[in-house]
């Protein structure tokens, strides 16, 4: 990965994180405040991304929206990662019976189309940010668990685990010191790639009206609200669309970098 791309990606993500934590740094505008007199203004000095159909500042909405989208993207991925790692490594470490039961369970959940799983979760909890997060997380947990399990099986058979055993290291310490960290590596790479998928999946659910309530400035929701103005006021949808893409591209670039690094380390 060329260094400038890497720096650009990292820089962009830092900006996003700052905007999620301290949106006031970037804009003084209120993302929820409507101003009918200012509706549908093209991008200009006062409104870098223009205004939407009720006169809200699109830039402010995108900035404030980073909070929700990042929370969903990173939150869901983190949950999936942790839960997937726990389940997967348990399955991988346990003797045949436990592994059999757990991996069967993983397989069963994997047989559920992700989307159906997410829909059911949202139906149970009701739409909103939290359920969106849980739904997206739950949908991908099986994939993480599966990778964690396979990886654990590989690591478990690795020479250094046997070496630790022959040295007389206790099983618990072996798992904590050798198995888990080496299982985590590929999962982390998968997770950085997963952040993007989570954000787009959440946007899809928002589009179907299953995401946060309006007028929450969640990106998927902004995009979905702006879709009918593509011909007359392209900026409402195009800017958040670009920001989503840029976010996903950035996390993926970082993910690939991590992957390349860990590959180099393994060689």
């Amino acid at each position: 990965m060329p260094a400038p791309a890497l720096w650009a990606a990292a820089g962009f993500l830092v900006l996003l994180v700052v905007s999620a934590l301290l949106p006031g740094v970037f804009t003084a505008a209120d993302p929820l405040r409507t101003d009918i007199g200012e509706a549908l203004l093209a991008p200009g000095p006062g409104h870098p991304f223009g205004t939407d159909q009720t006169g809200r500042d699109v830039f402010a909405r995108v900035i404030y929206g980073s909070r929700y989208s990042l929370a969903i993207g990173f939150g869901a991925t983190l949950i999936a990662l942790v839960v997937g790692l726990v389940i997967g490594s348990f399955a991988g470490l346990m003797r045949s019976l436990g592994d059999g039961v757990l991996s069967r369970a993983i397989e069963i959940v994997m047989a559920f189309p992700e989307f159906l799983l997410a829909l059911i979760v949202i139906a149970i909890i009701g739409p909103g940010e939290a359920s969106l997060l849980v739904a997206v997380a739950l949908a991908v947990i099986p994939s993480y668990a599966r990778v964690a399990r396979v990886q654990t099986l590989v690591v478990k058979r690795a020479g250094y685990v046997e070496a630790a055993r022959t040295l007389g290291v206790s099983p618990a310490v072996t798992v904590l010191r050798h198995v888990l960290p080496n299982t985590l590596g590929p999962l982390l790479v998968m997770a950085t790639m997963g952040v993007g998928t989570a954000i787009t999946a959440a946007a899809g659910l928002s589009f179907l009206g299953l995401g946060p309530k309006p007028p929450t400035p969640e990106w998927g929701l902004i995009l979905s609200e702006g879709r009918n103005f593509l011909a007359s006021a392209w900026w409402i949808a195009v800017f958040p669309g670009l920001v989503i893409t840029a976010t996903v591209v950035s996390t993926s670039i970082l993910g690939r970098h991590l992957q390349a690094r860990s590959a180099r380390r393994q060689r």
Partner: protein
């Protein structure tokens, strides 16, 4: 060379996203989309002309008894259903009985026929002779003639009612069998509904410019819930007509199309403030709500000049009932709104700047069901933003339809919104009467009930008009509902369609229409 000259097909892009969920039954569905689609297959006893007057259709004539309790219809004797069954008094009776049967779980049609589990006044339908039928009421019911002019009180073949009653909500060929100019010949849920001309059709309403079988052989209704896709389908020539055009798309449609913009009669797009729950029990809060939202500019901007601001709970297009004196009778007044809220005791403020009383926040939960239209969603954003300035929190609660119904049935929400087209002002009975099935404000005022009951009991138009104006005035004072905008049905169609007419709801009527080859 148009080789299709011997077989003409017209493609019609409609929204129709709700039809697949068991909403194909004219008798049970409360959705307007059902009537829009099914009108082509279902005729009515009488036809209501644009001027509001009634002319014969399946009934050649009718008499209303002097006490207003009995409607007798003399039926045509040459009408057959699509399946060949004869249309007669028995068929009418079977259909009306189907409407009021508990299993049908009808909402709108039952209300139109005057039936309710308690407090209804529909007393039954009697076969007088083969082609004469009489409907009895327990109290005078003036709007009934209008009611039988709607598609929702159309007629299924008795055979369909006997054999396929359970499938009617799902609908389909051989199930949705009526007498109309078009036969429903193909139905793919969420995709398309195809009608083919009823070659035997010869019972158009009096005054129709066309006789016999319809000129267009095939009508294909394409269900396209995305409004941009509907517009695109029209402008790219894949469809010749598209309805539910959003205001912002109107400007993108070129001159080769005609735009029909019909102001809907009935209940405008209205916010219902639920008196039976939470903060809106207090009339001051309701009035503050109405004064605190800058409705005019929002309507102007969001509907882009395609819809008028509503001032009353009846649309100006509702015949013999509208009260124009309400126009411009109240204005956006945040100061007054603040004063009212102070008067109501909401004086403290919490950390987010919202008003508080006795430790509780001034907050109202807005119940709506998915999908919320873009315009309504935008309007909601404005309401929320404007009220926040007053320290009044609005929480949006968009639910899936099942949970929506649950909350609605229990009336445990503060605010909800809808519009309800109807040619008769009696639409208010369902919305304001203490027993009304869509009484979203939980209004239970004996004065209102009496006004509504009296209004349907009189057949004198002037008298009725006076009563409905009193009801509109009542709401202006008590603010059970806040009217927002008068909805319009915007339909755009290619100039290759000739003689297309529209009914009072702005729905295209294809019977008289024909297609020319492109100029």
């Amino acid at each position: 060379q148009n080789t299709a000259a011997d077989s003409t097909t017209l493609t019609y892009a409609i929204n129709g996203g709700t039809l697949s969920g068991g909403k194909m039954d004219i008798h049970s569905s409360a959705f307007q989309a059902t009537a829009l689609v099914m009108r082509n297959s279902f005729d009515s006893l009488v036809y209501q002309k644009a001027d509001g007057s009634f002319v014969p259709w399946l009934a050649t004539s009718w008499q209303i008894s002097d006490d207003g309790l009995q409607y007798t219809f003399n039926l045509r004797d040459d009408v057959t259903f699509h399946d060949g069954e004869p249309f007669n008094a028995e068929a009418v009776k079977a259909n009306f009985e189907h409407v009021v049967a508990p299993e049908t779980a009808s909402a709108d049609a039952a209300s139109l026929i005057g039936y309710a589990e308690t407090g209804g006044f529909y007393a039954g339908t009697e076969v007088v002779d083969e082609y004469t039928v009489r409907v009895d009421f327990s109290q005078p019911y003036a709007p009934f003639l209008q009611a039988v002019s709607t598609a929702k009180l159309g007629f299924y073949s008795p055979a369909a009612l006997r054999e396929n009653a359970a499938q009617l909500p799902a609908g389909g060929p051989g199930i949705s069998v009526g007498t109309g100019p078009y036969v429903l010949s193909e139905y793919t849920p969420d995709q398309s509904i195809v009608f083919t001309a009823n070659e035997n059709y010869n019972w158009a309403p009096d005054g129709s410019t066309h006789r016999g079988a319809p000129a267009i052989d095939t009508l294909e209704f394409r269900i396209l819930p995305e409004s941009s896709v509907r517009t695109g389908a029209l402008t790219s020539g894949e469809a010749q007509i598209a309805s539910d055009i959003t205001p912002n798309a109107v400007g993108q449609i070129g001159d080769e199309f005609t735009i029909e913009n019909v102001t809907m009669p009935g209940l405008p797009y209205t916010l219902f403030l639920n008196e039976a729950h939470g903060v809106f029990a207090d009339e001051n809060v309701r009035r503050a709500f109405a004064l605190g939202v800058d409705i005019g500019p929002a309507v102007e901007s969001i509907y882009q000049g395609q819809a008028e601001r509503a001032w009353s709970i009846l649309s100006p297009a509702t015949p013999n009932s509208y009260d124009p004196s309400l126009e411009d009778s109240w204005a956006f007044d945040p100061d007054q709104a603040n004063a009212l809220l102070n008067a109501a005791g909401w004086t403290e403020r919490d950390s987010e700047g919202y008003r508080m009383k006795d430790g509780a926040r001034l907050s109202a939960q807005w119940l709506a069901y998915n999908p919320v239209s873009d315009a309504n969603a935008s309007f909601g954003d404005v309401v929320q933003s404007d009220l926040r300035e007053l320290g009044f929190e609005i929480v949006r609660d968009n639910r899936e339809i099942a949970q929506y119904y649950e909350a609605f049935d229990q009336r445990n929400y503060d605010l909800s919104d809808w519009s309800f087209p109807s040619v008769d002002a009696d639409v208010l009975r369902a919305h304001l009467h203490s027993g009304g099935y869509k009484n979203g404000s939980s209004t239970a005022d004996p004065v209102v009930d009496t006004l509504l009951d009296n209004a349907i009991a009189t057949s004198d138009p002037a008298e009725r008009e006076a009563l409905y104006q009193q009801l509109q005035q009542w709401n202006a004072t008590h603010v059970a509902m806040v009217p927002i905008t008068v909805p319009t049905a915007i339909t755009a169609y290619s100039k290759t369609i000739e003689n297309l007419s529209f009914d009072l709801y702005g729905q295209p009527l294809f019977y008289e229409a024909s297609l020319t080859t492109a100029p």
